[in-house]
């Protein structure tokens, strides 16, 4: 048997000035060729474990470190990240800080040049990794002008260029649209199978990567709470950590079915075997045509766009004649691939940008929450960020004296929403529309559920809510209407049940399992549907 590529022996680690250990008594071994997913809620030690694996902990972050970590036999106590970096490529959450040169080609070459490889070997390595990742067309582009998804792929390319035997990835698909996200997981699986590269990947949306994995390690408060194959992990999660369940596993648990499915294919096979799923056939046409539904709506609009264009000077058009109407109390999920124009549309809604053509009417203020809630937190105390009544309404009154940076991810998000939606000192929340741009980046399922509930509450109180998101599960949980953007155009507009039920990529896992049957999007709806359909009636 070969030696482990990564070994943790009783590792306990505390960040400087923090008493609570980020990792506690962690022992594990990772073998060459494994594809291992690291699961756990936010703040439970996933990122720290990845940083310890490549030596950044403790060499770079300081703190108190006990135990032993060895990478391919090299102890991280004796070897620094520079040496260990040759054995472990790392891709962390923010691709912005992982691009250190001006062009993509230079970015991909730097690791190879640092090893002292000759010019020909560097050029060949760059070409190969660029072709493998499909970024060969970006080689001469400046890194600062890449989109978030492109930056993520270039940063991964830089980590892979030296062909390290271990790749560490921290939420690599959190910023990617479903299509690119699936491509990335597929690529990792290919590297894993063809090159025997060991993958250690931390992710919240487990349904996106569990089928590729052959091992799952779950962390709870810095400790290894579970270590096993995906199937046993899902069984464990159903009992011990429901927040880590995939939507498919939750659907099965609610419907009383076993075993919990690792992926859509397994789930469908199980349902079909139990005659709970119709045999594949031609897709049913979606319910009512769009024009009919629009006519049924009352004329009042919180936000109205008529033929809105956004054309860059000397560049492409980002929005191409967008026309839409959002009523008070309506919740809309805006979906589409990276670069489809979602963020630009929201900026127009909030009057941060002026359309080059077309008109926008607003019934009141449009509060816009941009992608990073941390960008709103610029004062020393929470109380200085928003009015007292706004904080109270957001359930943050008891945190008024805390530093905003000390809040949890969910609390920061709530505070940022309170900041943008709160009015003047003596005015209650006055925004007619609340628009959010990718609000769930890096959030675990618990925090997402909290946010979805908050958005439903606001919509229930008459505020129009528009959310740009790549997460179909979140879209289904918080919105009743969904719009799909592509190349700056609205290409589909309907209820979330219509839009997120029948697709391959822009569909929830429940919908993909049930094949759009009954328009069920969430596990709860799917379980109800399964319970209401006796097997004999459904079977064809």
């Amino acid at each position: 048997m070969s030696a482990p590529i990564l070994t943790f022996e009783n590792v306990t680690y505390r960040y400087p000035g923090v008493e609570q250990p980020a990792l506690e008594e962690v022992s594990l071994q990772l073998w060459p060729g494994q594809f291992c997913v690291l699961a756990g809620l936010s703040g439970h030690g996933k990122s720290t474990l990845l940083r310890a694996a490549c030596g950044l902990v403790p060499h770079f972050h300081g703190g108190r470190f006990a135990g032993r970590v060895a990478l391919a036999g090299l102890s991280t106590r004796e070897h620094g990240p520079a040496r260990l970096g040759q054995l472990a490529g790392a891709l962390f959450q923010d691709p912005e800080t992982q691009l250190v040169t001006s062009t993509v080609r230079a970015e991909l070459s730097i690791a190879l040049e640092s090893r002292g490889l000759g010019a020909a070997a560097v050029a060949r390595g760059v070409e190969e990794v660029a072709l493998a990742l499909g970024i060969d067309s970006l080689l001469e582009r400046a890194t600062y002008e890449l989109s978030g998804g492109e930056k993520q792929r270039v940063a991964l390319g830089a980590a892979l260029a030296g062909r390290p035997p271990l790749i560490l990835l921290d939420e690599p698909i959190s910023q990617l649209d479903p299509v690119v996200g699936d491509e990335l997981v597929g690529l990792l699986r290919r590297l894993n199978q063809e090159w025997d590269t060991t993958i250690l990947l931390a992710e919240h949306r487990l349904e996106r990567c569990l089928t590729a994995a052959d091992r799952v390690i779950a962390l709870e408060r810095g400790r290894v709470a579970h270590d096993g194959d995906p199937q046993t992990f899902l069984t464990w999660a159903a009992r011990r950590a429901p927040a880590l369940q995939t939507p498919g596993a939750k659907l099965f648990a609610l419907a009383g079915l076993h075993p919990a499915p690792v992926g859509v294919r397994q789930a469908r096979a199980t349902l079909r075997a139990r005659a709970l799923l119709p045999e594949p056939g031609p897709a049913e046409p979606s319910a009512r045509p769009r024009r009919e539904r629009l006519r049924a709506r009352p004329p009042a609009a919180a936000l109205r766009m008529r033929g809105v264009w956004h054309e860059l000077r000397g560049g492409p058009a980002i929005l191409r004649g967008v026309t839409l109407r959002v009523r008070p109390g309506e919740s809309v999920a805006l979906m589409g691939r990276n670069g489809a124009g979602k963020s630009t549309l929201l900026r127009h809604a909030a009057a941060l940008l002026e359309p080059t053509r077309g008109r926008i009417e607003r019934s009141g203020r449009v509060a816009l929450l941009l992608q990073n809630p941390g960008d709103y937190l610029i004062h020393e105390r929470v109380a200085e960020e928003a009015a007292a009544h706004t904080l109270a309404a957001a359930g943050l009154a008891q945190l008024a004296q805390r530093h905003p940076r000390d809040l949890s991810a969910g609390e920061r998000q709530r505070l940022a929403i309170a900041i943008v939606s709160g009015g003047e000192d003596d005015v209650e929340d006055d925004a007619a529309v609340l628009a959010l741009d990718e609000p769930t980046r890096g959030m675990d399922r618990e925090a997402k559920a909290e946010l979805a509930a908050e958005l439903r509450r606001r919509a229930g109180e008459g505020q129009a809510v528009i959310v740009a998101t790549h997460d179909p599960e979140f879209a289904a949980a918080c919105a009743r209407r969904a719009m799909l953007l592509a190349d700056g155009r609205v290409i589909a507009d309907g209820t979330t049940a219509e839009l997120l039920a029948g697709g391959w990529y822009f569909a929830t896992e429940t919908a993909r399992i049930l094949g759009a049957a009954g328009g069920a999007l969430l596990p709860e709806e799917g379980a109800e549907l399964l319970a209401a359909r006796p097997p004999a009636e459904v079977a064809v």
Partner: protein, 296 residues
């Protein structure tokens, strides 16, 4: 876009200067700058200024350089004004401001104005050339050269070069977030100072993250960077020759095209001066005429 809130970054474009190896591109820019520093004759400086603007158009960054020209004027106008106000060496008075207390008699002279304008021209050319170089000379290739000479300097420069666009993007994001705050709210108070504090506070975190990435890429243990065996392109040769010509013209021009501002403006317009101007313009612009093999 190659600009971000007035900051300029390199982007590979189809131009002879972009197609030139970074070392030669930098040498050419250095030669133009040295010529601007060495020469005093206003006509020669004007020729250099116009040629630099023409070079920017040839490099496809004319729009950015016009922007830089506006920024340069903000710096140059005070230089000229201060020189006119404080210089007492000229003899041709064009305005009398009377007694200015500790500054003495406020006699404004034509010579001080001309001298201030010459200094302003030099500053403007230096700003434009620096901008042109930052837009058209590959900084990564330059850093590779520096790395061969001094590893520590290259490391510091790499972090610094990366931090500029990173902090520009951060400040842009934070400013945009500030614009989405409701006006008159409590968080709106002291906005600009808080914003600046947030950007500066984030700079340390950003620098740490960039340094961590460099560490993982093996920068700290890097061996001597390999010398890339690129054959000399027509553009390398053209810009190299132009740089040498500029240095020669600047040395000759300092002697040939004499100019003095004080006590009276002496600016002879000899044929040699005109030839010098033509030579300077040709040395700056001719390498841009050959546009073969410039695809990015």
């Amino acid at each position: 876009m190659s600009t971000s809130r007035g900051l300029f970054f390199y982007r590979r474009l189809a131009s002879p200067l972009h197609a030139t190896r970074a070392g030669i591109g930098a040498l050419w820019a250095l030669a133009v700058s040295l010529a601007a520093l060495v020469l005093d004759h206003p006509l020669a400086l004007v020729a250099l200024l116009l040629a630099t603007l023409g070079a920017a158009a040839g490099a496809g960054v004319g729009h950015e350089l016009r922007h830089a020209l506006r920024t340069a004027l903000i710096i140059v106008v005070p230089i000229v004004l201060v020189n006119v106000l404080v210089s007492r060496h000229g003899l041709t008075v064009f305005a009398r401001l009377g007694d200015l207390g500790p500054f003495g008699q406020g006699d404004l002279t034509l010579e001080a104005l001309v001298y201030g304008a010459v200094v302003g021209l030099k500053v403007t050319i230096l700003i434009l050339v620096a901008t042109l170089a930052s837009l058209a000379v590959d900084p990564d290739e330059l850093l590779r050269i520096v790395r061969r000479l001094s590893f520590r300097s290259a490391l510091t420069m790499t972090v610094a070069v990366r931090m500029i666009p990173l902090l520009a993007a951060d400040s842009q994001r934070l400013a945009e977030a500030r614009r989405t705050r409701p006006r008159g709210g409590p968080g709106d108070a002291g906005g600009r100072i808080s914003l600046l504090a947030a950007i500066l506070g984030g700079a340390l975190d950003r620098a740490t993250d960039v340094a961590a990435t460099l560490e993982l890429r093996g920068f700290a243990t890097a061996r001597r960077a390999p010398r890339a065996a690129h054959p000399w392109s027509r553009h390398d040769i053209a810009f190299g020759a132009a740089a040498l010509a500029l240095l020669a013209l600047a040395s000759a021009g300092a002697a040939v095209a004499s100019f003095s501002a004080y006590p009276l403006v002496r600016m002879p317009l000899a044929s040699t001066t005109l030839l010098l101007c033509l030579g300077l313009a040709a040395a700056v612009l001719l390498p841009f005429c050959d546009r073969r093999g410039i695809e990015p």
